[in-house]
């Protein structure tokens, strides 16, 4: 799949990539479906694709109770969670790159993930202390909401620091992102010092970046965030396209630029923060997926955003299937897999002639 995706795009001679985009979306939907089957049918226990078929065709009575439980209570929520997390990470990356007009903007690289992580750790450590009343009221949504606000704060701060007169310089963006990320990490360190043993276990588990321990509760807790982002995608796509020409040109073409930016910042924080809350920090999905998709379907957000959702979900499910099987019965943290695969791809993209060139960086 990687090789096919990394091929440079062939633009139709008439310059119109609409059909190309539609075909790619259909293809990605098929890939995502296959990835779901893979995720449901692979694991350290003997339950496989054949049992899945038996289950899906309504003959679940012929499966043992244990196999049924594995499918229903373990694999199904994990697949659903992987789908949502992958889609959220990839879409938040694509939106952020559009917002900053910069192919290098990624929530992981510029500290948004750290902000969400800091807030999540604060939620764990202070959830029984000063934040206890808030935690009581919000219940299951406490952690994702905290992470959302943490991500929102860092995205906003980054935007204000790195953007002058509507232009974002790559250098300022990356450097201020690093500083904001480091500050968040330092504060997270302080939180960890304050944590007791049980909280430390929670933090460590969460910090590894994993889909392990997926439950329907977690799926339901991030579903509204990811769902909301998916719903607004078509409404921001045209604006993000116009924004590529600059704030002024976008305004000239009828885009309410400030409102668009606010919506996108909130959407990035929602997608990124909620995934961090349930799965820890999983890197590189947000930068590699949109970048590969731009190569095959062009940069238009009409196709890039839904394409990122489909491809991000598929990629994360495949990575998770690998994480569960290569060292079975042990499980690798999925963040390790995505970094092992994503970092080299990213570097390759930087080097390649179809990749990001100095010319692209104002």
């Amino acid at each position: 799949m990687m090789k096919a995706l990394a091929m440079p795009s062939r633009v139709a001679a008439d310059g119109d990539r609409t059909r190309q985009g539609v075909v790619m979306l259909l293809l990605l939907a098929v890939i995502l479906f296959a990835a779901c089957l893979l995720s449901l049918g692979v694991g350290p226990t003997g339950v496989g694709l054949r049992d899945l078929w038996t289950y899906a065709t309504g003959n679940s009575a012929s499966l043992s109770t244990q196999d049924r439980v594995i499918l229903e209570a373990v694999r199904l929520p994990r697949t659903a969670l992987g789908l949502l997390v992958g889609a959220g990470l990839a879409v938040s990356g694509a939106m952020m790159q559009g917002l900053f007009r910069n192919p290098l903007a990624d929530p992981g690289i510029v500290g948004v993930t750290s902000g969400a992580g800091l807030a999540a750790v604060a939620a764990i450590v202070l959830g029984n202390g000063i934040l206890a009343p808030v935690a009581m009221v919000l219940g299951n949504q406490f952690l994702p909401l905290m992470a959302f606000f943490g991500g929102l704060f860092n995205t906003w701060a980054l935007y204000i620091i790195a953007t002058r007169d509507g232009r974002t310089s790559t250098t300022t963006l990356i450097l201020s992102g690093i500083a904001i990320g480091a500050l968040s990490a330092a504060l997270m360190g302080l939180m960890i010092v304050m944590a007791d043993d049980r909280q430390l276990r929670d933090i460590t588990f969460w910090n590894l970046g994993s889909l392990g321990g997926a439950t329907f509760g977690r799926v339901l807790s991030i579903l509204p965030f990811i769902g909301a982002v998916m719903v607004i995608m078509p409404f921001v796509a045209r604006g993000l396209d116009a924004l590529v020409l600059g704030d002024a040109a976008a305004f000239h073409m009828g885009i309410p630029v400030q409102r668009l930016k606010k919506i996108v910042i909130v959407a990035v924080a929602a997608a990124c923060g909620s995934t961090v809350a349930v799965a820890g920090s999983i890197g590189f999905i947000g930068i590699v997926v949109p970048h590969l998709l731009r190569l095959v379907m062009g940069p238009s957000h009409r196709f890039l955003l839904p394409g990122s959702a489909l491809a991000g979900g598929a990629l994360l499910l495949i990575a998770d299937s690998v994480a569960r099987t290569v060292a079975a019965p042990a499980e690798l943290p999925i963040g390790v897999i995505t970094a092992l695969f994503g970092a080299p791809v990213f570097l390759f993209l930087l080097l390649g002639k179809n990749g990001i060139t100095m010319r692209d960086m104002p």
């Binding site: 192919p103 396209d241 590529v244 040109a249 000239h252 073409m253 238009s300």
Partner: protein
């Protein structure tokens, strides 16, 4: 008619625009000239609705620009900015189509194709914008503006084209072509406002010439009245240059419209 009245813009204690008034009439090609820092681009930003003036106001056919939503403004006027760079490889067609979409075209792709062939870029549809030369990029942007206001007049209401240094990176032939398209737009009843640096081009195409200096309108009217030795000397500091031929051993080529 688009009017700016008593427009003042102050930045860091300096008046970029000082009580500027300007009427853009349908059917007229208005050109603003002036030295660097005279406030030409600022004036265009205020008139296009992009920048709010500190004092004064701008109205489109009697409606204050503040009351127009961006979507409505986009249908009334298109703006050609100075050089635009992109971080993402959109094709020429995709860029121009954005203009057509902003206008609410039923078939934006077809409209974009027509605009591209109008600026002489037929066959460039699939070229990635970042791979085009500076002049070609400028013409793609011009096509985008044209696709946004394809008809100079719609239901009796004139549309406007604002061009900020449209000829900046173009060769002589394309400078003329671009301005001829703009003049046709004005002749068909549209409103055209262009910022130009080349006084010869300005004199060739302007129906109404506005000379801006230090944020003030120092002269306006027909070219014969405004491009005078006195004004050019005052504004640009070059005396006695109007109508003077270069020394005999220097050839000179003045930009001139092909059909006049």
């Amino acid at each position: 008619m688009i009017s700016a009245e008593h427009v003042t813009v102050a930045r860091s204690g300096r008046n970029l625009l000082d009580n500027v008034g300007l009427d853009l009439e349908p059917g007229k090609f208005t050109v603003v000239i002036g030295p660097n820092g005279a406030g030409k681009s600022t004036l265009m930003k205020v008139i296009s609705g992009e920048m709010k003036p500190d004092a004064g106001f701008v109205s489109y056919h009697g409606t204050s620009v503040d009351l127009c939503r961006p979507v409505e403004l986009a249908k009334r006027r298109a703006v050609l900015p100075q050089a635009t760079q992109l971080a993402f490889p959109f094709t020429a067609l995709e860029i121009v189509r954005m203009g057509a979409v902003a206008q609410g075209a039923l078939n934006p792709t077809e409209q974009a194709r027509q605009a591209l062939s109008r600026v002489g870029l037929r066959g460039f549809e699939s070229r990635p914008y970042p791979s085009l030369s500076g002049g070609e990029q400028q013409r793609v942007q011009f096509a985008r503006a044209l696709a946004q206001v394809p008809q100079p007049v719609v239901d009796g209401m004139p549309r406007a084209l604002f061009l900020d240094e449209p000829t900046a990176s173009l060769d002589l032939g394309h400078q003329i072509s671009v301005l001829e398209i703009a003049r046709d737009f004005a002749n068909a009843g549209g409103i055209v406002l262009a910022i130009l640096h080349d006084l010869n081009l300005a004199a060739e195409f302007a129906d109404h010439l506005v000379v801006l200096n230090h944020g003030r309108v120092v002269a306006e009217g027909a070219c014969l009245e405004t491009v005078s030795d006195e004004i050019i000397a005052n504004v640009y500091g070059i005396a006695g240059a109007v109508g003077r031929l270069p020394a005999a051993h220097i050839p000179y080529v003045l930009p001139q419209s092909r059909h006049r």
